[in-house]
Symmetry: C2
């Protein structure tokens, strides 16, 4: 099978490509290194089953040329601005990198007759649900970040394009995804700052923000388990683990894995890490668990494994 991985030089995309290649697929990656990096895919340069286009997905004409040249059986669309904290000051970053990239991918699928899509969505589409355990049918969807807003918009586009063009689309709503090649987020940040100063750690909020963290290999395993049997239309799953980690837990795990003791934690106070951050979130995972898939590690284990991977 020949697949496009849009945003394949990114954290999740590059981990997915590694497995797709070992499964024998031909992989075409389109990435402009907005968040992805050359390092993430450097090891693939000599692989004859891998081809790279260094270009911006917001350039529709350039993307059409890729679709005209390659003949994709499947599109994995992983491209987005994934740094919610960064885009809080610049919604245009999400408009371009999350929404417009998705529109262009869908438009090329329509124009070039590609019918199968996997899309990375997010728990951020739900907004601040105040502790509710959300199923895929939770309503209303009121995102509080520009990231969540644009991902919700993308889901809407996928719904209409799928109906109008007979696409088979799979949407996974992920929590925080962590693991090797992580580029930002609380773990990345704690490790970086503790390297600079191993005696003290500033923690945004009150440390009680509590969310599920999913190890990237569990995520890729889940994608690969489902992508071949997607029914026509749109299928949505919450994907994650039903345990959560608090930010204080994460700070302690990072210190433990780095072998640091007696680190002074300084809390900035308040309930959320930054404006647009959902402080407490828990999934209802009955739908995905009913298929037989379950994350291989708890949220805390995923955190510990990630610290070991990025050290």
């Amino acid at each position: 099978m020949k697949v496009l991985v849009a945003g394949g030089a990114g954290f999740i995309g590059s981990n997915l490509i590694d497995i797709l290649l070992t499964e024998g697929h031909q992989v075409v990656c389109v990435d402009n290194y907005f968040i992805g990096t050359r390092e993430n895919i450097r090891h693939l340069a000599e692989n004859p089953q891998f081809r790279l286009y260094e270009q911006d997905l917001t350039d529709l004409d350039a993307l059409k040329a890729v679709f005209a040249e390659e003949h994709f059986d499947y599109v994995f669309h992983m491209a987005a601005n994934s740094d919610i904290q960064a885009s809080a000051l610049s919604p245009e970053v999400e408009y371009r990198n999350t929404y417009s990239t998705t529109f262009n991918v869908l438009e090329c699928m329509r124009l070039y007759g590609v019918k199968k899509l996997f899309f990375c969505s997010t728990s951020a589409v739900y907004g601040d649900v105040q502790g509710a355990e959300v199923t895929e049918l939770y309503a209303p969807l009121m995102p509080i970040s520009y990231y969540g807003a644009c991902k919700l918009g993308c889901e809407g586009l996928i719904s209409a394009f799928s109906y109008m063009n007979g696409f088979h689309s799979l949407i996974f709503r992920f929590p925080n995804v962590i693991g090797p090649r992580l580029t930002h987020g609380v773990i990345f940040d704690f490790v970086k700052r503790l390297r600079e100063n191993p005696t003290e750690l500033t923690i945004l909020g009150d440390g009680r923000q509590c969310k599920p963290y999913l190890y990237v290999k569990d995520l890729v395993d889940c994608i690969l388990r489902f992508y071949e049997y997607v029914p026509e239309g749109v299928t949505v799953y919450n994907v994650g683990d039903d345990t959560q980690s608090t930010v204080s837990d994460i700070a302690q795990i990072v210190c433990r894995e780095m072998g640091l003791k007696d680190v002074a934690f300084r809390y900035t106070g308040g309930v959320g890490g930054w404006k647009g951050d959902v402080p407490v979130f828990a999934y209802n995972l009955e739908k995905i668990h009913a298929t037989g898939w379950k994350a291989s590690m708890t949220s805390d284990e995923a955190v510990a494994q990630t610290v070991r991977a990025v050290l």
Copy 2:
């Protein structure tokens, strides 16, 4: 109060402006005549309380200049591609005229500190609900038209911008809105074709497509009743009437109002008018009715009144 009516030369926008001016407000209209027309606002040219900018809302820099020049208290965002049938062949029309215009309006509100928003949304965000009577909390939202998809994306943006910037936003989800200055849709179409040939009328589908139609003056009345008291965050209402009209009903009403008898109806067959059309739709209106507002006419009465207005 000084207000922006984005898309004010359009069907709904121009009807709204007429009332805003009679209520004593200063009105600034931005429109590029994509669907709106000069005729709709020609009667306002000499009104000192009215100012017009003939420009495209997708031009963010030009829109910033308007926000910098004027100091708006309130934004009514009515601009969109409202011709669902036309955009079925060109999703880019919706991306530009429905989604991008909304992003730019919200971004300018953020940058220039405007806090109050009214937004025209649509029943199309719900998708094909297979006869369910939808409340504002209906899930999942699976639009089947690019129009519905982009409007859902706009609602997501409004949710995030409102949270991040303290906006007070009112979202009305309308059904088909009809009345004077209508530019397209089934009534417009029937009248036009019966003028050309008063003996025969081709009807898309089986004629049993059944949806609520709302008279534009009822809609404007509803907007004006609510816009001054919007709480912080986002408030969503279904707005319409709880009666519906079938396409066959509409054909009969149009013939009756035009004084035509013995017109031969020819049905193209199938359940929907065109791909992306939701054939059967009914609102649950308990939320808006609980406020005391109710449409002044039934769906069939709105149709008859519209035929008289456009004849």
